[in-house]
Symmetry: C2
Subunit: 489 residues, 2 copies
């Protein structure tokens, strides 16, 4: 257990260090959040000059399950977590809180823990903010472009007596969040190590006869037990056979509850969360460990798209162009494997790529799985074309962006049947080969990729080549992350 | 895998059967919900006679994480789940739903799956309900006595043209939910088998040096992998040492993230959920597998309270009397072990029990962990006395009620320090013995108990006697449930 052995109540660590025990990543809150705050402040100063006042953010509240007293485990609101809060207002808790929830930390202990400049109680907000004599309170006000839901706007008793400003903050903070600092990337690298390692374990454990959710259980256990990652940032997608074609499979009405069959292709889209930062990884592999010819043909077409994008990504590249590049490589692979025929350029023009891959190539990743800043005023707008319109951003890549690269290929009745019957498309499809794959699901290969000054680097470390996948599933070694097992559970 | 082997897409099971694959409980929705519906209808008829109209319930909606598009995994609203719905109104989904969420079931398939009489689309509600020519729509309107939050009231476009009634339904449904049918008890028995088995595994895996959350990870994995139980009904409490005295430890600000020390007492309060029904079990044991004398003294006092209540529970007994019985046995045990001295009757009168056990003895359990129907008009009201006022119900027990029995004993500065300094209590406390235990946490032993016509039966099956706990932790056998391992993960 190295440096952690017999750590008693963190006595040897600085009070602002977040960690989850032996072999988990130690994060200095001061180091992480100070740089982020400086970034946001600089941008606000550039925009507002002398008009710059106080940035006021609302922390998250509880999630009740309907009318009950059951609460989901609290998750901090993303923008609030991002800033790490410089003056933090905390609730004044009643003394009996100590019996039910634990010892009540005083303001000084909270100040040290979160590495902020000052801590006061919520009931002191009006008084403390008045003393700052700021020209305005800048509130977070804007619409999340993935959910259509408004950001959490701060409020407090007495806010009416302040001058508030709602325009400046949201676009600046959303844009800052889209480009990560090195410290943020370090956290995401760790979340990727943990999830990559758990995906490899899932590959090794998979076999026909299991329920799909058994693999979800194994994945979540490994991420938590070995990596200290308590939450899955999104509901895991553990799809076997036909379910692989359902892009958001795994939700309550399609709850990873099919029994895995011998010839199934598996599609596992699962990630984990550490200190609020997410990983989001997809692996596809044959349930029984050996690719059939058809499975290999589809898989290698997707892999070609995956590799083409990773080779082309760099600052200055437009994300929709990467989507089109992926489509081109995918369709080229499918043509070589005999599933489509004719001119790939014609296929692209006719948006045939969206028949095989109806979703976008990837999305910004960070504190949110579909991270903010994808579409903002002044940035490239959303396309209206099939496939491209599903992209969650159309931005030009910048160094420090973390974005998923997740080309896929699916055989879904809903998209494929109309294409087979469309005179404009039918001549491009080898219908007997495609019919043979209808109902067999799909393949998706998803890495989390950081844009570097001269290219990109994948944070994900899972078997990708057919030979690698088959070897690992047969029990072969996989160059592991630094994670060591706490226990053989 | 028995009868389930190679089940392909449930083809051999009736369409209304809920199950999670091999070795998991099969539930006939028609059998379960028809009896429940009949019970509620009968009570509504008795109350309203000719005024009886149509019962209208609102199903649950999604839980968004703040402004993001991340949703928690959907959980049906409890009252809605309870009825199993007889005319179900479902959303009319757009065709592209099939690509993202899965095949769209038609109304007839949904009717068969949920074993209801009819299914229509939500946009047909006004039309369909008009045709019923009911004197009124009975809406669910009332306050959850644990959360203080209002029940989810149904609404739809056009409801203004109906006569609605809001008084009758809530107290009747809440009361019906408090007394379980045999079919409901069967589901809860299964959820108890699964969680009991997982608790035993946690005991076996526990050792000093682990992080507390490692045991949470093991528990959740076993419940899901071996029992098909996807959700924990509440945030698991995995408390070591001093954290055992924090009654709701495990939440985000006290996140099961302490490293377990050699002499720690462990307190594990964890349950699982199957087909919306919960188990809620607490085990306490020494981290290193061997009780110290002090640990044994406290543990056996709590166990005496646990046993006294299980021996006394039967229909007609008042729940607050069981709380007082538990306090009496607890204090008697603590006296025999030398932690308190003097007259136990005096201790009870002075509410010394609430110093050691500040929470209630137990709560109704069912679809909600703190199940509904605890306090309703015409039923015994909440006490104002320490300890007793924390009870979530003061009802007279009836056969079919499922209630937790969870006496505990904690050494918490917040409750103990004032007692040691209180002249009215100090002479009853053996201060040097208690001081030795301050900061060592606590013990809680929680079973889920069904009231039978002539007594009660615990659905929980975990080691309780000191010798049993030590034997199981040393690797000894424990008479297991019928669960078999899907895989050795």
């Amino acid at each position: 257990m190295g440096a952690f052995e017999n750590v008693k109540d963190d006595e040897r660590l600085a009070p602002d260090v977040y960690h989850q025990g032996p072999d988990t990543l130690q994060i200095s809150r001061s180091k992480l959040h100070q740089k982020i705050r400086a970034k946001v402040l600089q941008r606000m100063k550039e925009k507002l000059g002398d008009e710059l006042g106080v940035i006021l953010l609302q922390g998250g509240g509880p999630f009740h399950i309907h009318s009950t007293d059951m609460e989901g485990c609290f998750r901090q609101e993303g923008y609030f977590h991002y800033i790490g809060h410089s003056i933090l207002f905390m609730p004044r808790l009643p003394p009996e809180h100590a019996v039910w929830m634990g010892p009540i930390a005083g303001t000084e202990a909270v100040r040290q823990k979160y590495a902020v400049d000052a801590v006061h109680y919520v009931d002191e907000m009006a008084k403390v903010l008045k003393q700052l004599e700021a020209p305005a309170l800048h509130l977070l006000c804007g619409i999340n472009s993935d959910s259509g839901r408004p950001a959490l706007e701060a409020s407090f008793e007495g806010i009416d007596s302040f001058s508030v400003e709602r325009e400046a903050l949201f676009p600046i903070m959303a844009d800052c969040r889209a480009v990560k600092t090195p410290e943020e990337i370090e956290v995401m690298r760790y979340a990727n190590q943990v999830a990559s390692s758990a995906h490899v374990e899932v590959m090794r454990k998979c076999r026909p006869g299991l329920m799909e959710y058994a693999l979800e259980a194994v994945f979540l256990k490994d991420c938590y037990l070995l990596g200290g990652c308590r939450h899955a940032p999104y509901t895991p997608i553990c799809a076997s056979g036909p379910n692989g074609a359902v892009l958001h499979y795994g939700h309550a009405a399609a709850a990873n509850n099919r029994q895995i069959q011998d010839k199934d292709m598996m599609l596992m889209d699962m990630g984990c969360e550490y200190y609020a930062y997410d990983s989001d990884i997809t692996c596809s592999f044959p349930a029984n460990g050996r690719f059939t010819d058809n499975q290999r043909g589809v898989y290698e077409s997707v892999l070609a798209a995956h590799q083409a994008v990773l080779e082309a990504m760099r600052p200055g590249v437009k994300w929709p162009d990467m989507h089109l590049l992926a489509e081109r490589a995918l369709l080229g692979g499918l043509k070589a494997a005999g599933f489509v025929r004719g001119d790939v350029g014609e296929m692209l023009d006719k948006r045939l790529g969206a028949v095989f891959m109806p979703h976008g190539l990837g999305h910004l990743l960070g504190i949110d799985t579909h991270d903010v800043g994808g579409y903002l005023a002044g940035l490239p707008p959303r396309s209206t074309l099939p496939g491209l319109r599903s992209l969650r951003t159309a931005r030009v890549l910048e160094a420090g962006m973390v974005i998923t690269v997740e080309p896929g290929c699916y055989f879904n009745e809903f998209t494929m049947r109309p294409a087979l019957q469309d005179p404009a498309l039918a001549h491009l499809l080898v219908s007997e080969r495609i019919e043979a794959l209808m109902g067999t699901g799909g393949v998706r290969l998803e890495d989390d990729v950081v844009v570097t000054p001269d290219g990109c680097e994948s944070l994900t470390n899972v078997p990708r080549a057919v030979a690698e996948v088959e070897a690992v599933m047969a029990g072969g070694e996989w160059p592991d992350t630094a994670l060591s097992e706490q226990m053989s559970a």
